[in-house]
Symmetry: C4
Subunit: 415 residues, 4 copies
Amino acid sequence: MTQPTPSSSPTDVSPPAGATAGTRLPPLAQVPPQVHQLDDYAALAEPRMAPDAWAHVNGVAGAGITAQANRAAYARWWVLPRVLQPLADASTAVTLLGQRLAHPFVLAPVAYQRLAHPQGELASAEAAMALGGGCVVSTQASETLEDVARAARRGLGWPESPGAQTVHGGEAASNQPGMPWFQIYFQRELADTLDLVRRAEHAGYTALVVTVDAPLKLRRGFVLPPDVDAANLRQHTRMQDPVPSLADSPLFSHPLLAAAPGWADVAWLRAHTTLPIYLKGILTAHDARLALEQGIDGLIVSNHGGRVQDGLPPTLAMLPAVVQAVRDWAQAQGTRCPPVLVDGGIRSGTDAFKAICLGASAVLIGRPYIHALATAGALGVAHAIHLLRAELELCMATAGCAQLAQAGPHLLMPA
Amino acid sequence: MTQPTPSSSPTDVSPPAGATAGTRLPPLAQVPPQVHQLDDYAALAEPRMAPDAWAHVNGVAGAGITAQANRAAYARWWVLPRVLQPLADASTAVTLLGQRLAHPFVLAPVAYQRLAHPQGELASAEAAMALGGGCVVSTQASETLEDVARAARRGLGWPESPGAQTVHGGEAASNQPGMPWFQIYFQRELADTLDLVRRAEHAGYTALVVTVDAPLKLRRGFVLPPDVDAANLRQHTRMQDPVPSLADSPLFSHPLLAAAPGWADVAWLRAHTTLPIYLKGILTAHDARLALEQGIDGLIVSNHGGRVQDGLPPTLAMLPAVVQAVRDWAQAQGTRCPPVLVDGGIRSGTDAFKAICLGASAVLIGRPYIHALATAGALGVAHAIHLLRAELELCMATAGCAQLAQAGPHLLMPA
Amino acid sequence: MTQPTPSSSPTDVSPPAGATAGTRLPPLAQVPPQVHQLDDYAALAEPRMAPDAWAHVNGVAGAGITAQANRAAYARWWVLPRVLQPLADASTAVTLLGQRLAHPFVLAPVAYQRLAHPQGELASAEAAMALGGGCVVSTQASETLEDVARAARRGLGWPESPGAQTVHGGEAASNQPGMPWFQIYFQRELADTLDLVRRAEHAGYTALVVTVDAPLKLRRGFVLPPDVDAANLRQHTRMQDPVPSLADSPLFSHPLLAAAPGWADVAWLRAHTTLPIYLKGILTAHDARLALEQGIDGLIVSNHGGRVQDGLPPTLAMLPAVVQAVRDWAQAQGTRCPPVLVDGGIRSGTDAFKAICLGASAVLIGRPYIHALATAGALGVAHAIHLLRAELELCMATAGCAQLAQAGPHLLMPA
Amino acid sequence: MTQPTPSSSPTDVSPPAGATAGTRLPPLAQVPPQVHQLDDYAALAEPRMAPDAWAHVNGVAGAGITAQANRAAYARWWVLPRVLQPLADASTAVTLLGQRLAHPFVLAPVAYQRLAHPQGELASAEAAMALGGGCVVSTQASETLEDVARAARRGLGWPESPGAQTVHGGEAASNQPGMPWFQIYFQRELADTLDLVRRAEHAGYTALVVTVDAPLKLRRGFVLPPDVDAANLRQHTRMQDPVPSLADSPLFSHPLLAAAPGWADVAWLRAHTTLPIYLKGILTAHDARLALEQGIDGLIVSNHGGRVQDGLPPTLAMLPAVVQAVRDWAQAQGTRCPPVLVDGGIRSGTDAFKAICLGASAVLIGRPYIHALATAGALGVAHAIHLLRAELELCMATAGCAQLAQAGPHLLMPA
């Protein structure tokens, strides 16, 4: 099976070419005191990235309506307080398919992080692990998945080579912290996809995240600088895509369209690995049910941060129906409820608390941690996660909610 | 029968007079890389048009509430994705009264296109045809309908003189591409109207579009430059309208008001041509039913882009009820459902997809293609259409919708 | 009976004092071509008025929420078109208590119009009459009511002294054009109020308009320039209001509060004149019924343009319930339905059409005609009215509504 | 019992350190004529405060959504007028637990008022008393509660030492004006809390206000200038809080968290004083019932002005359900209804009237009076209260409501 171009590189990057670096400021060695909120990192990050890389990281599809709606959806809910509640054993911990995180913040897969900082994915993965959270490494990482795994082990305080501590996501190793997850785009050649899976398994990744919300793409013209590439795909065959004429069908006439990934490919992947698989890019109960029927272990409600298709609904608005479908399915099957994560527009611990009240098991953070990475490397990312956790704890305290398992819609009110 | 002034020239242009050209930039020979969306053409077009022509093309009635609402109506709907669906035979093609278009984008009738580019309607018609879409040529075109027809034939790759390929809109010639449609304003003299119809038939136009939403007008003072005129109306009688005093009724006292076009005139036109007739400017189910009872073949839901009367409802909001009325009528008659097109506020392929999900057979684009025309002539118009089609294909892929006939409200969600 | 200060001078003007005129531009002798809408007058008027007078005329109470809401209420309704309807005998005429106006635009009572133009109320009244509309002259006019009546007669093309043409509002003189109405604030001394009524009757005014929505006031500090005063009140006693200390009740401790006008005063006025009486400042069905029970002939739904109390509901939102109450009352009484006028936020003929569809008999225009007056005197006011009428006619034509008596909620749709 | 840091100093001030005063303007000796509304004080206050103190006073949590929503909630209600009603005995007086105020405006507890003006709490308390209103003195006042009590007695025109006039909140002294209330944060050491209570009782405060909506806090970095401190807490033990590392739980790992105040502490306080106790920071009917069951005498619906936790609902939206719960409880108990006050976003007398219509007994003003204090000391505060009272009186007059006991939801309409 071969896969069409579009899904093999949805962030739309042409082969190495020159890109001017401009007068970028260097990363900071410590976090400046004026950073009180996640959003405060943007102004610090922008002068530390090349303009086109900055535009690429923060880019949105179309008029950005979906990207805006993702954020606005959080303002549609109020948190209801409960005063004077006991908080002695309060904790932000969550357990995802047997992997225990100290808090529900997971770094979303973002490509080419060396665009933001010289240490790229090494820095963000180490920081995420050091803070006891989760991390999804992109197929299109600018560091090899093996190098990122080593950095992650450093963050966990583990020896650099995999050993007994590795958590493979099964029940056996449950309730322990664990390594990052690896994100998969189906490659043109099935062998290339399988190779990525085997490498991820070998390096100790604890789950696969298959992104399914970028079936085709429109060219936008961002060109990678010479020192940044898709490190994991160096040995894969690159085909030159035909350039369509104005009169041609821009996407539907693509020769490889007939081989775009489908549900059968998901089933194939499920049959070829024992790692837990998350599907990322599910927005409807309909697709959630299809995914579970294919043996998918968890879902990530996502619209790709509004980067791929404008006009998709905000993720928080879709979350409750997906959660309901998953719970109904689990009840009908008599199994434990698969985790449902959500991303898009989360900018504070309060946002995370709202998502969890509406059924999320954990949340993914995207652009904001790249801003923190560009600002101060691993330290910035760690601080950003710390900030989110602090806000979450304050919000839980305000709501009188000592454990996230107690969070629910009864602690919210529509605005 | 004579017709009052207002409807014979609703774009409100006084006889030739001097207009300063300023320091207009020349049109570009290719589309600059920063054009990623239709709206990106506006900034390129403005310095390439005379200020008063620019203001005229982009003008709106009143406070522009209707013009704004036309666009905002599209943001009230989200597209629901379906992931991992087969797209092997995906196509954007639509068939309108037996005329097959490669995609549902039709250029709306816009007057005096030489205000935007020296080749005016010749360029836009040729581009529309070359890209397999539709085009409506205005009564008030600044090129003769015969010249525009020749340009259209070039776009289709046909010989310049009409022959066997001409599609007259009947069943006989169904499922073939075809020539533009000609837009009709009822003229003061019925003979003049009939003359336009006969010329359009002879030149190979495949349908008539009767604009009925501009019954009267208020003067606004735009004056055509000396090299631009209503080419199709050169031989028509021009009467000098009386200038009312402040104390007079501004419109209702007009001597010709009693002869404003009515439904009887539509019936007369229906009886005098075998070309399919679209009525443009229908917003209500009530008027839709009246139109169908007069033998009208198709409807265009339009408020004239908010140019004539502010305070009219946005077209997308009115579309579903008009579509329902047309479907009910067709079912009661036992006939095939007449096409319902829509214009106003469409700025992306996603917008078009939403309109089609809500029942539109195709969509018309107005001001934005004039911006593309001013920027880069036929190439600009072709690129603008290509962009819309690419966005539509991406949106269809996201929605898992391989054919527009499968589009429907189940793929949308109210925002 | 004496009346407290507040209601005798709600526009809050201290006795004559110096006010700097600045570098005011002179009024124009003709209307510039860029005036396409009523709002276009504001920019022309501002440099033609003293800054404090400009601020006074355009002032709003509090945060201006009510003033904004008055305008915004009109954008909540769409006009539904009816295409191709007969308009041969179309007319904007309305009949109010037997007085026939060529159109439904009435100039609202605005104090001290010499602040805007040297001819003040003389200019606006003459223009209103010349254009066949209505006009309400303020108690606090800066020209005497007798002089304004003479100007109005000139506008009507009548001899300067009252004679047979005078319409007193009864059935006898019905369906004729007529003189302005006179606005009444209850004065401190009942004799002063009665004196105003008798003068208005004698000068030929055809109705009284009692403003009841300004029971008390807060001082704002605008000081009249030396050449402008309340011409009608020159012979009235002026009492010096006590200045309360900070610790006192600001309004409720006022010595004259006990004598604020009440429904009994309205009954007294009804008993002392045969002129029709409108009550201005009614917003609820409750107060509408009370007014009709006192023998009031017509109502003006008004919140004083948001000038007196912020937080009052927008007038258009209150109109339908008031109209319903009036219709129910008329039906129960077996009488003809008293007219209900509305003001606040009307800036176009389309706005007026919407109000009329929702039950208004006519509409009052306030600040905008003062802008036109400042710009070009009587000519400006006449042009402003002409503009409104032209927009109303276009809107009626669009809606296929040839007579205002046919307007109704079926021609509107909530936005 | 000891209490954790967070609740002992929720305004987050580190021990004395240097803070630059910049070029602050001196306070004014009289209120400038351009102050027409409460909001007008902000522009005058800003240059009279150190930038960081200004930022601290006006600071909001997170993105400020709750702070904005507090204000916006008032615009969601219109006041319904009743014209021509009798106002002879109109009064703004309210009685709260037997303490009669001339009007319902109470100064909210704000810490460190010497940041705004050299006389700090002395000025605001004296002004509040002189105008017959209420005042809550903060635990974190920058003047001792004894000194503030003396200033309050001056404002009341009483001798400086407490005597027979002191109102202790019981029925015996009902319907008299009275001294301020004292706000309590539970201190780390229970003995310290009890010491504050005894001092407040001794100094003549008439009620305690326990703030319960700031369970934990995030550090923000404002540092007090050397001449401002928490005057009431000088003798209390200050512990150095441990600084958590990035990887630690920011709040939940705090060693003192287990001892955060709970309902048992409220019961303890109730048992140790005979002063009436208000709980401040209640937002839900659920917590309102719990409070009443602990013997709490009154509630203050508050979200701390949006300063502590963003995402809490606006207070006005929560008020009706709290009021209903309190009324239901009182009816079930057969007792008089405890007072429910509200703060957050009130900027005018009209806002106060709306809150009272929705069930509030009185309202608290926070930041705006600090602006008035910074502008002109006690005179500014007095003028601000006078302004609010004047607006309330005008609003009551417009609504035809002569007594606040007659105010109710029938005088409002949802916007």
